[in-house]
Amino acid sequence: MQNLISKNPQTLTSNDIANLAHRFGGKSEDYIEIVNTQKNMQTINKYALLKEIDNELASITSR
């Protein structure tokens, strides 16, 4: 008999986020996942419009 291995999903669902917001307060949109950062950057750098938006958002948050 094979042992079934359960894996936790890598992606947070909106339920997880809602629970975080419920537990720690604030708005649920303030909680973002910090995994897959490298893959996300590859996607953003692949498309010019995504890169422009990302740069703009980064400059807003650093102000």
């Binding site: 992606t11 947070l12 909106s14 986020i17 949109e29 303030d30 996942e33 996607t43 498309y47 419009l49």
Partner: protein, 237 residues
């Protein structure tokens, strides 16, 4: 009463078809559903079998007592309210939304509002238990609009539950896969599933019906059942 506001983040995202199909799936699972068309293009009724010549709706009525005569019931038992021909003011829109609370003669009814994409959701009087679902397609314009919306949401004191839902997802598109993967891991308000692009949705509308009745074993119907189940879980939180 549970109020769900569905709205495209831009025009043509497929919002009205989602409202009609979601209403049917919810009704079949035993939920009492009222679908209200807030969009001046007034095409929600077509999905429920309303004759094409019937153009009148709530926007043509003088008061809420007159509006009560504008409701229809389709063959599945879904009660729906067509928009009509006039373009209502923002005040009239909000009056109708408020007055819909009086329709709760059936316990635990769900009211689905088909909202036009051109009216910002903040123009509606929303409560803390309301759920807003903004329909997006996996394209670069929606990517831009989602981030603009998030910036707005951060600035406003929104009390309602706000989510984005991907509609017409094409699994063979590299761009759509890239965008959906990115959104899933960076956007907390993104629903954890998508509605696939499926001919069944278009075909069922052409046959004057919804996916559940025309193709109950279709991917489209599975997706709508997933959406309905997810919404039920959200209301339980």
């Amino acid at each position: 009463m549970q109020r769900i506001f569905l709205k495209g983040i831009k025009g043509g995202t497929g919002c009205t078809a989602i409202v009609a199909n979601l209403a049917c799936v919810l009704k079949k699972s035993g939920v009492h559903v009222i679908a209200v068309d807030l969009d001046p293009k007034s095409d929600l009724g077509l999905h429920f079998g309303l004759p094409w010549k019937n153009t009148q709706g709530w926007s043509d009525a003088e008061n809420f007592n007159d509006i009560l005569t504008c409701f229809y019931q389709d063959s599945d038992g879904i009660i729906f309210l067509p928009h009509g021909e006039k373009t209502p003011s923002n005040t009239a829109l909000n009056e109708l939304i408020d007055n819909c609370n009086k329709l709760d003669n059936v316990q635990n009814a769900w009211v689905l509002f088909d909202c036009p994409s051109h009216i910002d959701i903040s123009n509606y009087t929303l409560h803390k238990d309301d759920i807003v679902i903004e329909l997006v397609n996996c394209d670069a314009v929606c990517h831009s609009l989602i981030y603009r919306r998030l910036q707005k949401l951060k600035k406003t004191e929104n009390s309602w539950h706000h989510f984005f839902l991907v509609n017409r997802y094409n699994s063979s598109s590299e761009l759509e896969f890239d965008l959906f993967s990115l959104w899933q891991s960076t956007l907390p308000l993104m629903a954890p599933f998508f509605i696939n692009s499926d001919e069944v949705i278009k075909e069922s509308t052409a046959y004057r019906n919804v996916a559940l009745n025309c193709a109950p074993y279709s991917i489209a119907n599975d997706d709508f059942e997933t959406l309905a189940g997810w919404l039920v879980s959200k209301t339980a939180l």
